[in-house]
Amino acid sequence: MLATIISWVAVALILATSTTILINRDWRVSLGALTVQYISVFWLVSRHLPFVMGSVKLIAGWMVVAALGMTRLGLTNLDNEEEDTFWPRGQWFRLILIFIVALVAAGATPRIEAAIPGLGFPVIAGGLLLIGAGVIHLGVTSDLLRVILGLLTMLAGFEVIYAAVESSILVTGFLAVTNLGLGIIGSYLLVAGSTPLEVEEEL
């Protein structure tokens, strides 16, 4: 009973953090929300995987946050990054999008549980919320850091659901490598272009 309550709290946290990542424009707040999000992901993953394998996802996630945060901290010229103004991207628009995602997740969760019994409502709801939030994030931004955050969010949602159907150590390891890889590639892409050509030649 307590575990179920905590699971639903994790789902609520996922909704709150993914909304924060989507709406807030401050990268520090977004990365902070992602850190909290990984705790919820850890809890939901641990419903079906052993504690150690769940903690791999938590540690990998936090390492990604640390890599992205440290990289972004070292960059000063991205504050006035211009954004595409073609698509609607106001806060209300994003709030409506996340509301739609929440509605879709609420509607789809019982159906998925009926199709794949045993996953658990909180796991499905949390996974769907993360996948939906990640996908809409990818749809409304062209900013590099935000794209990486969107991909990480989407992957986290996938991992929550996939952990319930596949418990292989190899898959857990590869998914951790994928998350870390996304973090490192994200950091690399953030740094790329801010280093002048001469510096590389000197090296």
Binding site: L151, M154, Y162, S168, G173, F174, I185, Y188, A192, G193
Partner: protein
């Protein structure tokens, strides 16, 4: 020695060592030589068969356990590994001529080893994870540290990452379909998931917009390598699905959908290529059209699917390497690769421009060139099944031919007084010359591929039935 260590671990570690220990001057030779040696070993030493060399008995064991799962190669994988590392060697030897940094060889070796691991991993659907990791390793090749990343590379990363969950979920659902084949709902869901996953991986229309973008913003040689490596292994991965799940082969609606996606890519790729004014984007659209041909082959109701696929994959590797090398040589002279910048280059870079045109013509299926035998075989199969599909595929190839003629016209558009000059280095001339000779040899004597192709259908036994 086990096969996965030989063809996965060793090249991966070699890539890491080259990255940290060797300078640019030697990395091309080191990577190319290692790749060529691995190809030769794959060709000469059969896997899981004892060979007596004097008093010494040699045997390459087929599998290795890793975190509870196995990576294994069969004896039939030998020719495939020879092709992969043989074509890889071509790309690595070409890096010196293309002027790409040593990161290409080191990361290239790591990418090829990861992609090779995707063939060996059991259960085979875990290959999706390895393809994703390989795709991420490509990114430092595409974006040098001093260059701001463009939209193409970001879209590439997004699409490849989205593909992985679809494939993994569909693999899990397909197991359910196998257990209860009569469940139409699960079958449809699994088929849709699988289709979406491969649509993202193979950049099926309209998800191929990152390819021409990438050709504009990244180095042509690195992008060419990406456009050779990822689709090649993705197609092998897709053949694995077709081989494993009978209903994928036997559902007529699915075959029609695959054929439609393929022919749409061929036609649109060809037509868009003919409209371009940027010779890099042309290469992008040509690869889209060729990937379309590969998808089209997978949709054929024929026992020759595997033969046709590999008949197209081998010349594709060579033609793309020559084309990308020529583009990277031209890009050093004309930064943007637009028609206005490359006009009249035939007189100052005659070998490069000739190699580029010949590689382009090879991909259109021009007679006597490497792409021709494969396309002839495809026309033969296709014409027997659907005339309209054949016509649209022909339209695509015609578009590519028009693009080649337009490029040729731009290259030779120059004042009469301008003198001929050879501005290529001897390494560039040698690499391009060898590549072009290879294109002609594969075009005129396609039977030399027979030793490679003979055993490959046994990798996918059930497709041929």
């Amino acid at each position: 020695m086990s096969a996965p260590i030989l063809w996965i671990a060793i090249p991966f570690l070699a890539g890491v060592l080259i990255l940290f220990l060797l300078n640019e001057k030697y990395s091309a030779w080191a990577g190319g030589t290692l790749s060529a040696i691995l190809a030769l070993i794959a060709l000469i030493f059969p896997i899981d068969t004892a060979l007596l060399l004097g008093s010494i008995s040699l045997k390459i064991s087929p599998s290795v356990q890793f975190f509870g799962r196995s990576f294994e190669f069969s004896i039939a994988d030998g020719p495939l590994l020879a092709i992969i590392y043989g074509v890889g060697a071509l790309w690595f030897f070409g890096t010196q001529a293309s002027g790409t940094a040593n990161r290409f060889v080191s990361l290239g070796l790591m990418i090829i080893s990861l992609l090779t691991a995707s063939i060996a991993v059991e259960p085979f659907l875990f290959a999706a994870l390895l393809l994703e990791i390989a795709a991420m390793l490509v990114i430092p090749l595409l974006v040098p540290i001093y260059q701001k990343p463009g939209r193409g590379v970001v879209r590439f990363l997004i699409y490849q990452t989205i593909a992985m969950p679809f494939i993994l979920f569909s693999g899990w659902m397909l197991a359910g379909v196998e257990a209860s084949p009569g469940d139409l709902g699960t079958t449809t869901q699994a088929g849709t998931m699988l289709g979406l996953g491969f649509a993202f991986l193979l950049a099926v229309f309209p998800l191929y917009n990152w390819i021409p973008m990438l050709m504009e913003e990244a180095t042509p040689y690195a992008t060419g390598f990406l456009l050779w490596a990822l689709p090649t292994f993705t197609v092998i991965f897709a053949l694995g699905f077709l081989d494993r799940y009978a209903w994928l082969r036997t559902t007529p609606q699915l075959a029609s959908a695959i054929q439609f996606a393929g022919v749409f890519m061929v036609a649109s790729g060809g037509i868009f290529a003919s409209l371009q004014r940027h010779i890099g984007r042309m290469l992008g659209y040509a690869t889209i059209a060729e990937t379309g041909l590969l998808i089209l082959i997978m949709g054929l109701r024929s026992s020759e699917i595997v033969n046709l696929t590999f008949l197209i994959l081998i010349p594709r590797g060579l033609a793309l390497a020559v084309w990308a090398l020529a583009l990277s040589i031209i890009k050093r002279k004309a930064y943007t690769l637009r028609f206005s910048e490359v006009q009249g280059l035939a007189r100052s870079y005659p070998i490069t421009t000739a190699a580029l045109i010949l590689a382009h013509l090879s991909m259109t299926g021009f007679p006597l060139l490497a792409g021709f035998p494969a396309r002839l075989a495809i026309w033969q199969e296709l014409a027997a099944q659907s005339l309209s599909t054949t016509v649209w595929a022909f339209v695509g190839m015609l578009g590519l031919l028009i693009a080649a003629i337009r490029t040729l016209a731009v290259f030779v558009m120059v004042e009469e007084e301008k003198k001929w000059a050879l501005n290529e280095s001897w390494v560039q001339m040698a690499m391009l010359g060898l590549g072009v000779i290879g294109l002609f040899i594969l075009g005129m004597f396609p039977q030399i591929l027979q030793p490679f192709l003979a055993d490959l259908p046994s990798l996918f036994n059930r497709i041929g039935q």
